[in-house]
Structure formats: structure tokens, C-alpha cells
């Protein structure tokens, strides 16, 4: 991709966002201090220039990211079972935020954590026949084509290709869309 071209953000409906569940990246370690503040331990890259600099400057193996008081409380609620709607209700109770404010604040916070790879946001599939399903299907078909090209060029193993293709086709089917 052209380095200065801005990547188009994927937009999901409020309904899908409210049904989504956040789960911590299992590769991350995190600590909780006595006052409840969470510090994330982000492993430093082991390749490239940052690794070289890290070794020569003897930087610690982990980069620390300290969440604020409210961010820490939300972090502890992300258990992979609680959906965003429940988090909004909890924020409304805990901080007396209006549902709309809580929803917007949570959306931005989860997007930031997800963009940085600190969490994985599990978003349900769009309902068949909706505009979202159509847009998501276009994106999936494109990815499927790329996968096929990579397989033909020998970049992807047969077993990986088959299982990923099967998973993508299943998603398309669940959205009521054709793979071709």
C-alpha cells in the first residue's frame, strides 16, 4: 500500500458494536497496582531496527503502557463474555454517564486498544440482506481472491489455504452471500 494513503476505517452499525465482545490479547501481560491502575506489558519487537536499537541501548524487554483509572476499570471488565451493551450499562451505573456518552467513549476506547493490538474485538456477523452484509461480502471476496493468488504462487500451504477458504466461505454463507 502507498505509505501515505490513509487506510479506510471499517464502519460497523451500532447494533453490531453493542453485541461485540472484547477480549485481551493473550500475548500481553498486565499488572494491577494497589489502587486498581492497570499497566500493560507490551513485548518489544524482536526484529528490525527497533530490536537492534533495543539491544544496543539495553532497553527492557517490555514496553509499559499505563491505563488511567477509568480505562483500567473498563479493561478489567473485558472478559470475552461481556458485550459492549453490558459495558455501556455498567458505565452508566458506575460513572453516571448517559448511555450515548458511554457508548461513544467506549467505542473510541475499544477502537484504540484494538488498533494497537491490545485487545481483539469480536464483532458478530451482519444480518443477511443488509447493506453491511453486502459490503462485508465484497471485502471477504477480495480477501478470498488474494488468498487464491497467494496459494497459486506457493506462498500459502495447502492445508492453511483449505481451512481459511472454508472459514471465509462459511462466513459468506452465514451472511446470505455467494462466494463467487
Amino acid at each position: 500500500m502507498w505509505p501515505f494513503k490513509k487506510k479506510k476505517k471499517k464502519v460497523i452499525s451500532r447494533d453490531r458494536f453493542l453485541q461485540s465482545r472484547a477480549v485481551h490479547n493473550p500475548a500481553l501481560k498486565w499488572e494491577e497496582s494497589d489502587d486498581g491502575v492497570i499497566t500493560l506489558m507490551i513485548p518489544r519487537s524482536k526484529s528490525g531496527i527497533s530490536s537492534f536499537l533495543g539491544r544496543s541501548l539495553s532497553l527492557p524487554e517490555y514496553k509499559q503502557v499505563k491505563l488511567d483509572e477509568i480505562g483500567s476499570k473498563v479493561w478489567k471488565k473485558m472478559d470475552g463474555k461481556t458485550d459492549a451493551r453490558a459495558l455501556v450499562d455498567w458505565m452508566n451505573q458506575e460513572f453516571k454517564m448517559s448511555p450515548r456518552e458511554a457508548e461513544m467513549a467506549l467505542g473510541i476506547y475499544l477502537e484504540k486498544l484494538s488498533d494497537r493490538g491490545y485487545i481483539v474485538l469480536m464483532v458478530p456477523l451482519p444480518e443477511p440482506g443488509t447493506q453491511e452484509a453486502k459490503e462485508e461480502a465484497i471485502e471477504l471476496r477480495k480477501q478470498l481472491k488474494d488468498l487464491e493468488n497467494d496459494f497459486k504462487r506457493g506462498r500459502v500451504k495447502q492445508e492453511d489455504y483449505s481451512s481459511i477458504k472454508q472459514e471465509m466461505e462459511k462466513r459468506l454463507e452465514l451472511m446470505g452471500e455467494k462466494s463467487g
Binding site: 447494533d15 477509568i70 448517559s98 450515548r100
Partner: protein
Amino acid sequence: MKDVGWLEVGLKIPDDWELTAESGGLNEAYMRFDSTKRTKLEVKWERTKKKGEALPYIAIENFLKAVAKSSKEKLATKVIEKGNAKVAGHRAAYYLWRMKDDTFVTISWMCPDEEKLLLLQYGLDSDESKEGMFQEILKTVRCHGNENFYKYEILRVSFLVPNGFRLTKRKLLIGRVYLIFVKRDSQLYISWSGLAREQLRNYKGVGHFFLSNEKADIRNLGKGLQEFAKKVKNTDSAISLESVTKGSLPFLSKDKKNFLKVYLDEASNRIFTMAFSALPEDEQGARAFVESVKASP
């Protein structure tokens, strides 16, 4: 259903709908409400001196032409039904129309009290008729102020704005909202910040919070309010100040009343700042504005 009052329009909408876009407020305005799945309702208005019963029909026809023109796929709009209706006591025109798979009801009317032409559009779900929720909402629409005030109700905060004051500046940020209403030389200011208890842990008091976050916004509202900032102390737990700014020309310029109130509302966990700088004829309305604020968590 919950109440919403914004940009001189009031209505009731289902609890899970939200105001997701808005603009204008002086001579025209726009607002959009989304359900959790899609855009359901859009309201537009513009001030106009024009009169005539055909005006709402012309407004809808022009609107449909504009929709078809701006459609990316060059889709045509097909009118299924048109007729007359009543909104807030005014005679209105409605069109039921379709574009590809989507069906909409667009309704337009003139509000002579306010000299406004309004247009409301409702997106029908595939299993929905125009007699259902659309009618329920339509019954609740208020396009002109009640007695002497407009009711504003947003993000669980409600307050009254005296007629004639227009929203000239606003910021609807996450966790902080501020609004400025202006009528000639009189100004009203309201702002609130959420997560008050959590935020105040980082400040010495409400005074410190005001000086750090609100002082700059008050600055443009006149000399009288600027002077207040000098009197506020960091440790103040609440602020209530009043003053009079003398008119610059004796016998010709009017004096202005200045008022500032900053306080923590424990129940809603918000810090409110209310201020006004008002000419004598607007003072009563400005005081009613300050006293009308209600917030729920």
C-alpha cells in the same frame, strides 16, 4: 420513548435511538436519529418568509430530485402515495416513496409561528408500515416554542432557552458539552462535564476545574464575564457570581447583567457551568434558563 429537544424542535423517539448528527441552528438546521441498526429519522428546517399551501409539496419534490441526483448508483425515486396530514397543528404534505429496496415517508409543513419550513423523513423497515412508529413520533413533534421558551433535552440534560435566542456555537464532545445561545447583545452559556467525581480528583476544587477548562470559553462572552475569572479561587467548591457592566454611552447604552454559576451535581456526576450576559429585557428569561437545568444520570 424518550424526549429529545434540539435546535428548536422537540419530539419523542424510541429509547434506543440516538441523535447521531446535527448542524445549523441560525437560519437552517439538520438533525439525524439512528436506531441501533440504521438511520431512522432526519429533520431539516429553514427559516423562510415565503407563504403558500403548495410550499411543503414543492419542498418534498425538490428534496426527492436532490436525493435522486446525489445517488451514487443513479437510482430513481418512485412515489407510492402522497397526501395531506397534520403536524403540531399545521397542515402538512406527505409522500411515501421508494428507492431501490428502501421505503421512506417524507413529510413537510410550514410553521407560521416561527416562519420555518420543516421537512421530516422517516426510513421504514421492511416489516413496518407508516401507521406505526412513524405516526407515534409525528404526534409528539413540536416545531414552535411553548409560551416563551424552547425546551432543549439532550444526553439526559434538559433546560429552557428563551424564544429569540439562537444556538450560535456548540461543542458536543465525549464527556463535555458546551453551548452558546445569542440574541442581539445578550448571551447564554451552558456547559457540563461528565465523570465529575473522577475528574475532580485531579483538581484542587471546582474553582480549579473551572479555571483550567472553562475560562477560555467564557472569555468571548463579554468583559463582565471575563472579570469573574479573576475572582475565582482554585479551592472554591462552587461558584456563584453576579455583576453589572455599565453601558459605554450614558443614556444611550444599556447596562448588562452578568452571571456565573459553577457547581457539582452529585446525582448526575456532572459539573455544570451556567453563565449569562444579558440586556435588561432578556434578564428574566436568562434567569429562567439558569434555573431550568435538570440532569439525570
